[in-house]
Amino acid sequence: MLRRFEVYALRPDAPAEGVRALEAACRDCGRFIPEVLDCAVGTNLSDAPVQIVWEHAYASPEAYRRYMVHPYHAVVLDRYLLPDSPERLVIDGPLGAGLYGYGCGAPSYRMRSGIRRLVLLRLEAGVPEAEVQRLGQALERVRPDAPGMVVSVFAPNTMGAAWFDGVTPVMGPPRWTHIWEQGFSSLDALDAYRHGGSALADVERVGWDEWMGGIVKRSAELFYAMTTTAAQESGE
């Protein structure tokens, strides 16, 4: 599977009606392109200067390629996004390209509702793979001492460079080399984790510099309440 996030920083003068249309276009994408799975949209609640996050997934690179050539992608989504479109609502993102994602064998990221948190990580260049795996195991093992965290997935940010076909990099390494995707049942659960006594919450509070040999050089976070089409229809 391919897990994918698009993160948008809005033009300061973006009309509210247009922003709602962009959110709906992302949230409802799976209705028009069946290959687009697990669509949810959220308004970023962190301090990062971006406003909208669209999370979704594909069963395979082939499914992703069908999305790329689907008219809904070019006609509806890109209307609000491409730099030359007269209807563009976004600006170039301060967090890099604004596209992140990873490959996974199963949808372990999946949850129906709640709070999604993305921790974007930049690892030191040239870190041995064994060290990266050790970091991943530590991050994904966090849940026993953070009971409100219902999802914890760590993976290299492969989609940042391989955005054309989901596999082949078409540009240099991304600014954020890895993603730590989390899910919480509620904002209270996220707050409980952030202010709780787990070892990783402590690392996040103090800073990554001293942990695991300082291989995490930078980090940034986004979190948002997931809004899905199903939730909209049921009035949640």
Partner: protein, 105 residues
């Protein structure tokens, strides 16, 4: 064959500058990426309204557009074109058109 039609609104005093951007940056970026230039037309600048500038590009289908899109996004001039055009226009629309077959009269 498909057409991409951008219709933008420009203040009358900025029309020449906008057309210059179309003739230089846009033409270079779009044609190098694989699109064909079809036409450029404007409404009158002498009627007390903002001027609409309509630019049409052609390509085969959405498969080819996906390649054109990739080439554009990877071209630094595309982002310069986007910034420059945005600074000159006050609004507009983007639509994709495919030919419609009409019944014989």
């Amino acid at each position: 064959m498909m057409h991409l039609v951008d219709t933008v609104e420009v203040e009358p005093e900025l029309v020449d500058e906008y057309l210059h951007v179309v003739a230089t940056l846009a033409m270079a970026v779009m044609t190098d990426a694989g699109a064909s230039f079809v036409s450029c037309a404007t409404t009158s600048g002498e009627i007390g309204e903002r001027v609409q500038v309509q630019v049409t590009w052609a390509f085969e289908d959405h498969e080819q557009w996906n390649e054109i899109r990739k080439n554009m996004v990877l071209d630094p001039r595309f982002h310069e074109y986007g910034r420059t055009a945005a600074s000159l226009r006050v609004g507009g629309t983007r639509r994709f058109f495919t030919p419609a077959t009409l019944p014989p009269p």
